[in-house]
């Protein structure tokens, strides 16, 4: 597990900063992607990622370089959990609520929202084109927020099958969003 703490101090802080910079170069995209998945928001993901690097830089005893990557992802996951908690209003003050309400009303937001709304309508329309179990699994998971295990029970299939359906539905929507017509997308997925 942990080595002699004195050994950690043998590495000057400069070295640590270099390691963090390298982590940033190599894994920032992946980190933001993962955080966006957790937080359902790219903006929040970027903020949390940034905070994670800061936290990583501030460690007094950063530990073995080989563990740094795992540590970065753990810090980020912790911060993401914190942020999700914040959203639950557990500690939310009136100002925070207001900030959240108005954060999306910055000048060029209407346009982005319009695009997102179109996409949403399009994706939901695409779901209609899918075979029933596939469509239901995706709807229950993505819109109603049910877990894979819950859906497995509801649809009386294995969890593996639920994941399979979810994957198919997701790829189908991707293909359709990417410009394929229903026949093309179905043909490619052999639906």
């Amino acid at each position: 597990m942990s080595t002699d703490p004195a050994a950690d101090h043998a590495d000057p802080g400069e070295n640590h900063a270099k390691l963090v910079a390298r982590l940033f170069r190599e894994h920032n995209e992946a980190l933001i992607s993962l955080l966006a998945l957790r937080l359902n928001s790219l903006q929040d993901a970027k903020e949390v990622a940034q905070e994670s690097y800061v936290r990583l830089l501030q460690l007094d005893r950063p530990g073995a370089p080989s563990l740094l990557r795992a540590y970065l992802f753990r810090i980020a996951t912790n911060l993401a959990i914190d942020r999700l908690r914040q959203r639950t209003v557990r500690w939310r003050s009136a100002t925070a609520v207001k900030a959240e309400l108005f954060e999306s009303f910055t000048p060029n937001e209407p346009e982005r929202r319009a695009v997102a709304r179109d996409e949403l309508e399009f994706v939901r329309a695409c779901l209609h084109e899918l075979p029933d179990p596939c469509r239901r699994a995706f709807w229950l998971h993505r819109v109603e927020g049910q877990s894979v295990s819950e859906i497995a029970i509801e649809l009386s299939v294995t969890e593996r099958m639920v994941r399979y359906h979810l994957g198919r539905a997701l790829i189908y929507c991707q293909l359709r969003l990417g410009g394929a017509c229903a026949e093309e997308a179905k043909g490619r997925l052999k639906l």
């Binding site: 597990m1 914190d82 709304r117 993505r142």
Partner: protein
């Protein structure tokens, strides 16, 4: 990914892998080893992460967080789920905040079916990474964390709420004649007029009280009597009780301060992290070295929050949820197996 057609269509194969990763990562937010293998996969080919991000774009498009984005009025439900026809689909909910609420799905009837079509049962749920709030029929307010679900069952005598999964914060409307009873696993929380948070994991329930006070009882599955006065206790405002499913002991600790400052101190949050991993983190901050040698203890999964400024407190809190004892020495702190009934402990 062993689909027959995969070899004919390498791009599709990559999409399938990306979708599979996305679904699995989304299912297990706390799984570090999964993240680590996923990062490896991303490193394997420059196209992998790009494919993942494209999958993610479609994933987000299907259920955006922003309320304004949502299709106005009724959700364009493409599935005619049979449960929807049951009455009481709770149209009267007045949602209090804008964030993420459009995506909040109300699935009461599904549970009503499971429990034998009781019209008094309603359930509220939030989607993955969403949150929502609403007003319950008695005027009490509830805020739901991400991927959380509660079920209400109100009768003339009692306002019953079950936290099925996740986290819920309640601001209870005063009604002394009709107690507000929240059930989370084997834990029952009884409130009259108060505000508290119930967080439910697989192996434990955390009740954090911000106003008033609550009474907590444990209902063991083996003894179905709803009220066991011997195990009842009160938790006042500003305190948080952690009730483990496996240990009869309960830890009551002060709530973390509500300000932003504590983010800056080291705060570690874990979901199912082996104790050895937690300890190795804490050793970065602890003046005295923390040692756990017992292999069984090292494997115990820990879920919760540790503040780097209060490590010793945290270790003593471990005594309450794990079968271990803290032995403090000059140079080190040892977490040793509990001596009493060591054979009976897992």
């Amino acid at each position: 990914m062993t689909d027959v057609h995969a070899c004919e269509d390498p791009e599709l194969e990559r999409m399938e892998q990306a979708a599979d990763w996305l679904i699995r990562l989304n299912e297990a937010p706390g799984d570090e080893s999964l993240v680590s293998t996923w990062v490896q996969w991303c490193d394997e080919h420059p196209e992998n992460l790009a494919a993942f991000r494209r999958a993610q774009a479609a994933w987000l498009a299907a259920a955006p967080r922003d309320k304004e984005v949502a299709v106005a009025g009724k959700p364009s439900e493409p599935v005619s789920t049979p449960e929807r026809r049951v009455r009481g689909t709770t149209v009267s909910l007045r949602w209090a905040t804008a964030a993420a609420l459009a995506a909040v799905a109300i699935v009461g009837a599904r549970l009503a079916m499971l429990h034998g079509a009781d019209a008094g049962l309603q359930s509220y749920a939030t989607p993955v990474a969403g949150s929502g709030s609403g007003v319950l029929p008695d005027g009490s307010k509830v805020e739901l964390g991400a991927r959380s679900r509660i079920t209400t069952q109100y009768t003339a005598k009692v306002r019953g709420v079950a936290v099925d999964s996740g986290e819920a914060f309640f601001t209870v409307a005063r009604d002394p004649a009709r107690p507000f009873v929240v059930t989370a696993g084997h834990v029952q929380v009884i409130a009259v007029g108060t505000a508290f948070d119930v967080r439910r994991d697989d192996d434990r329930t955390v009740v954090a009280v911000t106003e008033g006070k609550v009474k907590i009882t444990r209902t063991e599955p083996s003894q179905p009597s709803p009220e066991n006065t011997e195990s009842a206790f009160f938790v006042p405002a500003g305190q948080e009780a952690m009730i483990s499913q496996v240990s009869p002991r309960v830890a009551v600790v002060p709530l973390a301060p509500p300000d932003e400052a504590y983010w800056r101190q080291g705060v570690f949050k874990y979901m199912g992290e082996p104790l050895s991993g937690v300890v190795s983190d804490l050793n970065r901050y602890s003046g005295r070295r923390i040692v756990v040698t017992d292999p069984k203890l090292r494997e115990l999964p820990f879920t919760g929050t540790v503040f780097s400024g209060r490590i010793v407190d945290a270790l003593h809190a471990f005594e309450d949820v794990f079968p271990l004892q803290v032995i403090e020495r000059d140079a080190e702190i040892e977490l040793a197996p509990q001596r009493v009934s060591s054979s009976a402990n897992r």
